[in-house]
Symmetry: D2
Subunit: 366 residues, 4 copies
């Protein structure tokens, strides 16, 4: 199924609604990290600000729940509250249809609708929703993005708990489908553990056997990596004979490992400060045109918060795709409930998902 980017339809700023709209207003920050009381908060959608009569400017590199700061009179920058400094000019006003000089454009892309009925069974996403078509669409999309986009993967540790899933993901990297990686300490630790000992948390990733003193394996994996100073050093020295981190590092694919209070260790590559980690994640998110999150509620929701539904570049505006693969209706609902409206969820075990996806991409490209 050949993938075609949907067209973007900007608002018709010739309409009276816009012609008669006031200019956007800005107020100065007076206290570090604190916005003016009437701040406007961004959404995941394209938003336009009326900067001078007749000129509506699209904000770039947006994300939801942030402020819009006017820099140098014409540049609009989307800033987290924690990055506000005194003097910043923050857009104010909470009306979204131009009344405050701000327009939130919720239907810029024309996606094909999936329903034409008033009443229908099975409208919600559950484990019983068919997803053959999602695979077929993903084959087309990822093939397109491999050449013309930026595919960012968000991985939970389950991806390296199973031999076949881990090996399939390495092949996705080798075939060029991975342009960025975000995960936590555990994904990297257990990937290295699998490389060194064939286990994850002491359980063999193929035979499922618990190995003798296997509960030491992840600690040894951390300790041995930290002894040489970094994952990159460990890979360069040949200490990590296989796996996802090795493939990513060998190919100089950027990755962000964010720390959490759940971590052992951590590996020396892990970022301790979660808001600095968020900044690094957002740096990847700005480049991402498609994000695929696998089996990680924490990281998937975190990335969903950072990810706009569109990407603007000199060549135009395009949608950003966000797939979330998880076993749990609760997690799928939670993502939807947080307003990540462009998210699509597939309810399955990521072990199967990765293997099937990799095989399907290989067959689709023959």
């Amino acid at each position: 199924m050949a993938f075609v980017l949907p067209d973007y339809h900007p608002p018709d700023f010739g309409l009276p609604q816009f012609a008669e709209a006031p200019l956007a207003t800005f107020e100065r920050v007076t206290q570090e990290g604190v916005a003016p009381a009437d701040f406007h908060a961004t959404s995941i959608f394209p938003e336009y600000l009326h900067l001078e009569k007749g000129t509506w400017r699209l904000i770039h590199e947006s994300r939801m729940d942030c402020t819009v700061v006017l820099e140098g009179g014409t540049t609009l920058s989307v800033k987290e509250f924690r990055h506000l400094v005194p003097g910043d000019l923050v857009a104010c006003g909470r009306k979204e249809n131009g009344e405050n000089g701000i327009f939130v454009h919720t239907d810029g892309f024309r996606f094909p609708s999936r329903s034409s009925e008033k009443f229908a069974f099975r409208g919600r996403l559950t484990r019983e929703t068919p997803f053959s078509i999602d695979y077929d669409e993903l084959y087309g999309l990822l093939e397109h993005e491999r050449k013309s986009g930026f595919i960012l993967w968000v991985l939970g540790p389950a991806v390296v708990f199973d031999r076949d899933a881990r090996e399939s993901f390495v092949r996705l990297i080798d075939e060029g489908y991975v342009h960025g990686l975000h995960a936590g300490n555990a994904l990297a630790v257990h990937d290295v553990e699998a490389a060194l000992y064939g286990t994850a948390l002491g359980q063999a990733i193929y035979s499922k056997r618990s190995t003798h003193l296997g509960h030491y394996n992840h600690l040894d994996a951390i300790n041995r990596t930290n002894a040489v100073g970094s994952l990159k050093q460990a890979v360069d020295l040949g200490l990590v004979p296989s796996g996802i981190m090795r493939a990513v590092i060998s190919r100089s694919i950027p990755f962000v490992l964010a720390g959490s209070i759940r971590d052992d260790g951590p590996l020396c590559d892990v970022i301790h400060d979660v808001y600095r980690a968020q900044d690094e994640m957002r740096a990847l998110a700005r480049r991402a045109t498609t994000v695929v999150a696998l089996a990680t509620q924490l990281h998937a929701i975190a990335m969903g918060n950072l990810l706009p539904s569109y990407q603007a570049s000199p060549s135009g505006v395009r949608p950003v795709y966000f797939y979330n693969v998880d076993m749990s209706e609760f997690v799928a609902s939670k993502l939807a409930d947080r307003g990540s409206l462009t998210a699509r969820s597939i309810l399955t075990n990521v072990q199967d998902f990765v293997v099937t996806l990799e095989r399907g991409l290989r067959e689709a490209c023959v």
Copy 2:
């Protein structure tokens, strides 16, 4: 991975424990459907009854939670309570190590152990348990059983809610991996609905679109089938151009459709009386050497109740394998909790499972 049946090790009846054991005792049923108060209840394991000094007889075609009835002086028959009639001689006594002339043999097969550690993380089955090896073992097992066994499938409707899963299952039938089928009304109804309209409960099984008046589709599927008198008639008349029921019927594979209080219709092939349905299911279960249940809590547990852990034939005793594929840890635990100890569970979406299994079997056989 070539599959080899594990050996069966019968008890050593020369041991004093057995030599000194009393004979099994039997009491007569005096009231229809009611056992003597001290009845012995069967388990899923091989059980031996001491019928005359030095002679321990293995019961055949067992299932758990039933009585053992002595027929004609030497035949042991495993009977549900509801089938007891006055005069039946029911084995009595609840001790399981010979004290009542009954021995329950819980470790006749030597399966390779998966752990050698006292302490280990990740001992329980969850969605994060790896299952590459389960696929590989299934390829070997099903290849063996295709020729030498009887593979019984228990299907929930989710198998026909997705195009690729439905088509893959039909290929499994065509390739000889399906020797019996058990399901409910819904599986058959939505399979026929998919054949007639391309939908399940009105939602297209590929595009996910809700079709106009789609909530009539399953009722029309039932009504049109019942109008010709049976699924077989519908298939023979060419009314059902595709699907699982068509494939099963065309190849004269036995199937049991059991009714439930949740059914619309039902299709005329569905058995109304659940205990008659259970009898028919058990007739399949007696023949089964491997059972695979897909996404159906009700039918999986029902079949688990009917299925012993072994099959005895003139050529010897072999294990009966029982795989259960479901999304829910709760269902997996529930099966384990009911004592179906030989059950193995795979936690994933059956859509992926069926597609991956069929593809793997195809590749493994090349």
Copy 3:
């Protein structure tokens, strides 16, 4: 919170849409159990048929996915397909706004809306949805229904697996909040098992201890009950010293125990034929003004299929409430997906639900 029944607003049949509508058409059944091809299928909503010029008749005692049969020229009866007999006059036509002389009235009741926003987080029901208000509404509703309605309970076995939940439910019966009961074999078996042995499937319902030979307990409970002929006999003879079945039988509250293929036994009170069971369940459903289903996917969905969203009587039309309490978002979604639109779900463990509900009703009535 005092409960007030919402008003029912019948359609305004004076509108041109109705005045100009054709009369409803009927076709004769020619084959037992088979409807004319163009049959009209009922919904959960009030539906009106145009029987003679200007006369629209409301169907009573409806349920979804059935046919409407004209009896004696003026009576409209909602019949399952399996009950159709040759000669029956079945309403035909699938348009729902009068075009075929049939009007489906989807908004006859004015419920207060819960949202006034275009965009909002947390629109879907999950375990994180607050339900303090649901308890408060239930206190008001059940207090009203105790005197003026018919409260039908649908119970999964988990209600008797826990001592406190079981005792609280008995108090609900004793206080008059239970007018009908529907369940399966397991609920009754484990309730009797708890009365006889203090266990459910051999595990103590308070201490959780597994008792010696406890796996016999449910079989003994069945066998001892069947030996005296019925649950009622067992209660009358004093064999069942406590529990839900005892309370229900002592107070002559009607109950329907439906069989399933998963049953051991069964108890002699269980209905073997699921469609006869469905008929009995529907007889209760016709009387029900509020239904509360606890921890049973099978029975909750089955009852949902039988239950209309309204009840019509000489004194008018009122809504029928349907609460479903379950741990699983999947089950909650499944009920919604089947079109049971008046269903409200509470996601929690029924042990807590029953205890809290009973205590709250007690306190609310003081």
Copy 4:
């Protein structure tokens, strides 16, 4: 049910196994954050090191997956890898029965067993496991700990999403059942949001209504709090009229709010560096005698990692209790799988749990 602390039985170091054991060995750290290759890793159990002939010293304030460092010749300190500095003397050797001068004492406490059967249904924890007894035990335990222990609560945001749960938890604080609190940014944000606007993420915590511009509420809650500098300032200034944070701060109960990559804001009280947060959490964990975690996978597992199964003080050794309340079998299994063996799980919605617990404690104390 009056609670009695179980006795602790130290090992009998007069046994030959101990008398003949070698002394524990220690190796020096040569690189910051890196342990000697053969380091011994701690468990959740009491561990004894053989420091000089005949003297086995118990380690205090342990936690799993850390090193043991000898300080000043006689003090044993349990240190995370990241805190190791060159020169630290780390205990080495991985045998646990004295062979390396280290003894891991896994059965020091005699808890009553819950089973005496070889075979039993329902051995695993599921939503159908009864928990009346857990409530009763908790009433006794928390009453004991209120006076003589340190009760640490770990809260997910769901506790403040519902009015009744939030109010009940405040009463638990007021009554002295809360000695420490650990949570993430979201718990505090939505608690303040509820105090200011009556909502959580814009949805009213009682009526469930989505309020106008409600998606601004949590951002405004953060921004207003940060404007005054801290939660404490906000409480002291009277800006936060109700809720958990207000109650905790008013009573000078210590709390740790750990940041995560999922956070908006954050509130200025949140710790950015997750490993510093972990240190602060461990400072609470060292004091904790009972921990109750409510509806938070991340924080519950994180706390489980930090929490030993015992606490040693001059007056002796006592167990540390760890209750985890969650809706998901997966989370319950995950905790068990990580080796937190003293954890007990209750599968229910925390809304009900908190309300029931608070009411039960009140009634139990009357």
